[in-house]
């Protein structure tokens, strides 16, 4: 691992980690209005993938989407304001945790209906193909998504139309509270389905940020060159429950412990120190990021709630909501 580059990736992962931990705390304090699904433990996928994307590229995620929005550059204060229902929320208070979107930064939304965004990703990629731009679309989704119809319709369409889209399955081994192995007839939810669409079987250690970057980078490059879509299975683990309200008690303690040892931040730290990075510098990144996030939360909590009149804006493109004259 190249040290300056690795430190940059490590810093970004740290930010996502401490941001989500703060969200968890705020949730427990009753300050988050509505559900919150945390990406704790899955930071390497968001950071590794975002590091190979260019301005103009599109990405989409699920209701577990905070990290993917932040990784593309969505302003953290606006994301946190959205979660806390404060003024200046990135979706003006009308999307919440499950719909974080930052079009300006190429993050085309977090989707709360499982699988819905895979066909939408096809549409973004289709537009790039029609317009002959080099834009690539990357679409993140969970292992449970591979059992829903939209997954199969979208991957098939992308393959048939040779669209510049990279589908990234974040396999954290659980669909909500149920082990994915209980609900698929194959070993790997995405990789073992790829052949049905004429795609290669691609698996990557989703907790190794440099591996993620290499594998998704290759897929993005292929898409950019007009070589069509890819389906990547990035294997990972969520360190907390399905949502902030879930303790995840259905998971065996030894399984959790085993995956904690493979924490993507620990993985990156080990790689960095092996490459000669200074432990103290890494500790400094951790502590300064933590305090930055704490300060961010303080500032956003000081903001007022959005004006109630905002509930009536943005139904139609002229800003109005009326359905009749």
């Amino acid at each position: 691992m190249d040290v300056p580059d690795g430190l940059e990736l490590y810093t970004r992962m740290c930010f996502l980690r401490y941001f989500e931990e703060r969200v968890d705390t705020l949730y427990r304090q009753g300050l988050i209005h509505g559900p919150a699904h945390l990406g704790l433990g899955q930071e390497a996928i968001a950071v590794g993938a975002a590091s190979v994307l260019r301005p103009g590229d599109c990405s989409l995620g699920t209701y577990r989407g905070h990290a993917h929005a932040l990784a593309r550059g969505a302003p953290p204060d606006a994301v946190l304001a959205e979660l806390l229902g404060r003024e200046g929320g990135i979706c003006a208070g009308k999307g919440g945790s499950m719909h974080i979107t930052s079009i300006e930064h190429g993050y085309y939304g977090s989707y709360a209906i499982v699988g819905a965004h895979l066909p939408i990703a096809c549409g973004l990629a289709w537009a790039a193909k029609i317009r002959l731009t080099e834009a690539v679309t990357v679409c993140f989704f969970g292992d449970g998504t591979t059992n829903i119809g939209a997954f199969h319709e979208a991957v098939n369409l992308a393959a048939v139309w040779r669209l510049p889209v990279v589908f990234v399955c974040e396999n954290n081994w659980y669909m909500e509270y149920t082990p994915i192995a209980d609900v698929i007839p194959v070993a790997l939810p995405a990789a073992d389905r790829a052949a049905a669409y004429g795609l290669d079987r691609v698996v990557v250690d989703g907790n190794d940020v440099t591996a993620v970057r290499r594998v998704i980078g290759d897929a993005v490059t292929a898409a950019r060159r007009g070589q069509g879509p890819s389906l990547v299975e990035a294997q990972t683990y969520r360190l907390k429950g399905h949502s902030a309200a879930d303790g995840g008690a259905y998971r065996p303690a030894e399984e959790v412990a085993r995956w904690r040892e493979r924490d993507p931040l620990l993985h990156a730290r080990a790689a960095l120190t092996a490459a000669g990075a200074d432990e103290a510098a890494l500790d400094e990144i951790d502590s300064s990021t933590k305090s930055d996030v704490a300060e961010l939360a303080r500032q956003v909590l000081d903001r007022p709630a959005p004006e109630p009149s905002g509930a009536w804006a943005d139904v139609w493109s002229d800003g109005s909501w009326q359905w009749r004259n």
């Binding site: 599109c58 929320g89 990135i90 979706c91 003006a92 208070g93 009308k94 999307g95 719909h99 979107t101 930052s102 079009i103 300006e104 085309y108 939304g109 989707y111 209906i113 819905a116 965004h117 895979l118 066909p119 939408i120 990703a121 096809c122 549409g123 973004l124 990629a125 289709w126 537009a127 790039a128 029609i130 679309t137 119809g149 939209a150 319709e153 979208a154 098939n156 369409l157 048939v160 139309w161 804006a313 943005d314 139904v315 139609w316 493109s317 002229d318 800003g319 909501w321 009326q322 359905w323 009749r324 004259n325």
Partner: protein, 326 residues
């Protein structure tokens, strides 16, 4: 003026808008070969395969791809072959397309059109290919709903739908695809949200949409023969709804019959009846009457279908009952 069939009018409107704006692209099952109802005939030949895309039988992929393309700045027109098939992509229509602008605080617009064949009309298509389904969309804020009553409307309203920056569902009536009518020469666009007064009369208001606008006109002919002058309103669009036109007509006649092809249970006619009750109660000389399709799934045998479909005779009977109310 050129005489076009309803299906030719659809294809002509698509061609007009594709020629005008290269962001307009068409996708759907069989559309490159003209489509099963021949509503996209000639488009692929004229505009090429980069503008007209055949899809697999994958309605979620069709609706979702249209949405993604609209987010990217294209103006896609997706064919959902039969309106009944919206059931297979309703997540994309009702949860995604309708709401994405609102849920993102206005970060994106959704300039797309979903269009296809709707309605019964006595063709024997049955419960899964013959429904009139505007109601499904009408309870979802964020969707505009267009139902043309003839070729000129099919042309002008589709053109307007394509130019609109919001998502529009266009319900074409399959029983009218062969119907001919004069359509204005040159660029033809009709505004969304403006009802058409199809006939002027002072005794009773008949409100119709799509095929029932014509049924109302046929009923009005019969009523005229009986000395009754009906005001016939063709709504053209349910969202935006021209409530002003409905209320103005009620003020003139004091009597209202609403005619819808779909089952009456929570049909759009109930919204019109509520509008009359809430905002024109003092103008009404009689209770509002509703004529609707039967509250059953649609049967196929012609005798059964006729039993539950709306007809001019049922509209005449309802109008006479309203007029006889004391």
């Amino acid at each position: 003026m050129a005489e076009l069939t309803y299906r030719q009018a659809v294809a002509a409107a698509l061609a007009q808008e594709m020629a005008r704006d290269d962001r307009v692209v068409v996708l759907g099952e069989d559309v490159a070969s003209g489509g099963v109802f021949k509503t996209t005939s000639g488009l692929c030949e004229r505009f090429g395969p980069d503008r007209v895309w055949n899809t697999p039988i994958s309605e979620q992929a069709i609706a979702g791809a249209a949405m993604g393309a609209a987010m990217a700045g294209l103006r896609p027109v997706a064919e959902i072959m039969f309106a009944d098939f919206y059931a297979t992509c309703w997540d994309h229509v009702a949860n995604e397309i309708a709401k994405v602008r609102y849920m993102t605080g206005g970060q994106v617009s959704m300039p797309l059109v979903l269009r296809g064949a709707n309605g019964s009309g006595g063709l024997g298509f049955g419960s899964q290919h013959g429904q009139s389904l505007e109601n499904w969309a009408m309870c979802v804020p964020g969707l505009k709903i267009v139902s043309p009553a003839g070729p000129a409307e099919a042309f002008g309203l589709l053109a307007a739908a394509i130019r609109d920056d919001d998502p529009v569902l266009v319900f074409e009536h399959k029983a009218m695809y062969g119907r001919r009518e004069e359509v204005p020469e040159g660029e033809h666009v009709l505004p969304l949200g403006q009802a058409r007064t199809a006939r002027v009369g002072g005794d009773v208001t008949l409100v119709g949409l799509s095929i029932t606008a014509g049924i109302c006109l046929a009923a009005a002919d019969e009523l005229a023969a009986q000395g009754i002058a009906a005001d016939v309103l063709d709504l053209r669009t349910l969202v935006p709804l021209d409530a002003t036109a409905v209320l103005a007509s009620i003020r003139r006649t004091g009597r209202l019959v609403v005619v819808e092809e779909n089952p009456g249970q929570l049909g759009w006619g109930a919204a019109i009846a509520a509008l009359a009750a809430e905002e024109a109660f003092s103008d009404l000389a009689a209770p509002v009457a509703r004529v609707s399709g039967g509250n059953v799934p649609l049967p196929v045998a012609a005798s059964l279908e006729a039993e539950v479909d709306v007809s001019a005779a049922r509209v005449v009977a309802a109008a006479r009952a309203v007029l006889n109310h004391t």
